[in-house]
């Protein structure tokens, strides 16, 4: 993250977008040039300082930077400052902005988290293929590098945007905010955010989503929930994927469920296979119901586009 506006300094990039063009650009480049100028000037400035005494002119250009200028007489008194701020406060502000936007548009946003290789993208492409005629969908893809996943998503006909985090190990709310600007999702749509494959860091970063959905494949071992408790604590739903491989593996489903519920007693668990389609209908019902709750009390949104169709489908099933 860039330390000025929170964007990924040259490392993270949103597909199809030069990061420099985002609205924070002003502040961004402004500060950079300041810092730059400062570094450049420093030795020179210092010299002047020594030779000609106090050179106030120089100070105005780089206040707040560089320890050398803090030694002016009467200015060097150390003091204590109370801060009492959450370290992730900045991210949480961006997340709340995203959340407000999603609420105003009657959107359901899901943050899909898992370790790499859990079958997240396969599960997602199948979900999109099966649901795209019923619900307006869009996808934000997070990976360290390449647009391969976004390409796979777009092959289903659903709009997708890729965020490459570079050295970053998770998506943050600021990146997602920019991606939304580009994606401009429909009202009453479902936005799926496929986070970077990582069971640690994405747990701490709120993106403004309604639910975190953890995906765990049975090829990974049943003790993952207690090995990575923070992620399973943060998730509302656990999809136990690749359940079709159960006959070939020594995976104890009950044990896994017990571990997950020990970390998070409220977690809901569905057993699915994105390859065979087993259990996928349950997952779709979960999405549709969660989507419906976003539209309650918003008759205007739910009567536009296909949200009404979803309502009918849910009613038929229940």
């Amino acid at each position: 993250m860039c330390t000025v506006c929170g964007c990924g300094e040259g490392e993270s990039k949103i597909e199809g977008q030069d990061h420099d063009h985002h609205p924070h650009d002003h502040k961004h480049s402004h500060n950079h040039s300041h810092e730059h100028g400062h570094n450049h000037d420093h030795p020179h400035e210092h010299e002047e300082h020594e030779h000609h005494g106090s050179e106030q002119q120089g100070h105005d250009h780089h206040y707040g930077h560089g320890p050398a200028h803090a030694h002016a007489p009467g200015m060097s008194q150390a003091r204590m400052v109370q801060v009492e701020q959450d370290i992730l406060g900045k991210n949480n502000e961006y997340a709340n902005e995203n959340r407000r936007l999603f609420a105003s548009k009657g959107m359901l946003t899901l943050n899909l988290v898992s370790s790499p290789g859990s079958g997240k993208t396969t599960l997602l492409t199948r979900t999109l293929t099966d649901l795209k005629d019923e619900i307006p969908l869009s996808v934000i893809e997070g990976d360290q590098e390449t647009t391969q996943d976004a390409d796979r998503i777009r092959a289903t006909g659903v709009a997708a945007i890729q965020i490459n985090t570079g050295k970053g190990c998770h998506l943050d709310a600021h990146q997602v905010g920019h991606a939304i600007e580009h994606l401009s999702p429909e009202d009453a749509s479902v936005l799926m955010i496929e986070n970077v494959g990582n069971l640690v860091c994405p747990a701490a970063f709120d993106l403004g989503e309604a639910h975190k959905v953890a995906i765990l494949s049975i090829t990974e071992g049943e003790d993952k929930p207690i090995k990575y408790p923070d992620m399973f604590f943060a998730a509302d739903l656990l999809l136990l994927n690749k359940i079709d491989l159960l006959p070939y593996l020594d995976f104890d489903v009950d044990k896994c469920i017990e571990f997950a519920q020990r970390v998070n007693p409220g977690i809901q668990i569905l057993q699915v296979s994105a390859t065979t389609g087993e259990g996928m209908e349950d997952w779709y019902q979960w999405i549709k119901l969660a989507h419906q709750t976003r539209l309650i009390g918003r008759p205007k949104l739910s009567t536009t586009n296909s949200a009404t169709q979803t309502a009918t489908n849910v009613a038929e099933v229940s």
């Binding site: 993250m1 330390t3 000025v4 200028h69 400052v81 943050d172 701490a204």
Partner: protein, 113 residues
């Protein structure tokens, strides 16, 4: 790796505070880190040095105040100490625990000039 982002978050707050509270150098930063916050203090100390290089907090000391994890045991009806999210109640061995404290990551105070 995510401690690095957290330290960048800390630096952002320092830069904002430097403007509003009028200081130009940070000497010490006190953080409150809970046992259940998924933060590794060692990694935090390492990342802090790297992230603050050539900033207003260059060379600043990072002091981490540990906050123990607390949970309310529904069975015992009292607050008990836990080290991890999936710990059982140390008294009754049950899992009906609601975490009540120890998940904070907070910048407490700064020594500045």
């Amino acid at each position: 790796m995510h401690e690095m982002s957290l330290c960048e978050g800390v630096l952002q707050v320092l830069q904002t505070e430097a403007k509003t509270q009028g200081f130009s150098k940070v000497m010490t930063v006190w953080l409150e880190i809970g046992d259940l916050s998924s933060v590794e203090p060692e990694a935090m100390l390492f990342s802090f040095d790297v992230v603050t290089r050539n900033s207003l907090a260059d060379g600043a000391k990072l002091q981490i105040i540990n906050v123990p994890g607390n949970a309310w045991c529904m069975h015992c009806a009292k607050t008990v100490n836990v080290k991890q999210r999936f710990d059982e109640c140390p008294d009754c061995g049950g899992f009906q625990l609601q975490v009540t404290g120890g998940d904070e990551m907070k910048i407490k105070e700064l020594e500045v000039e």
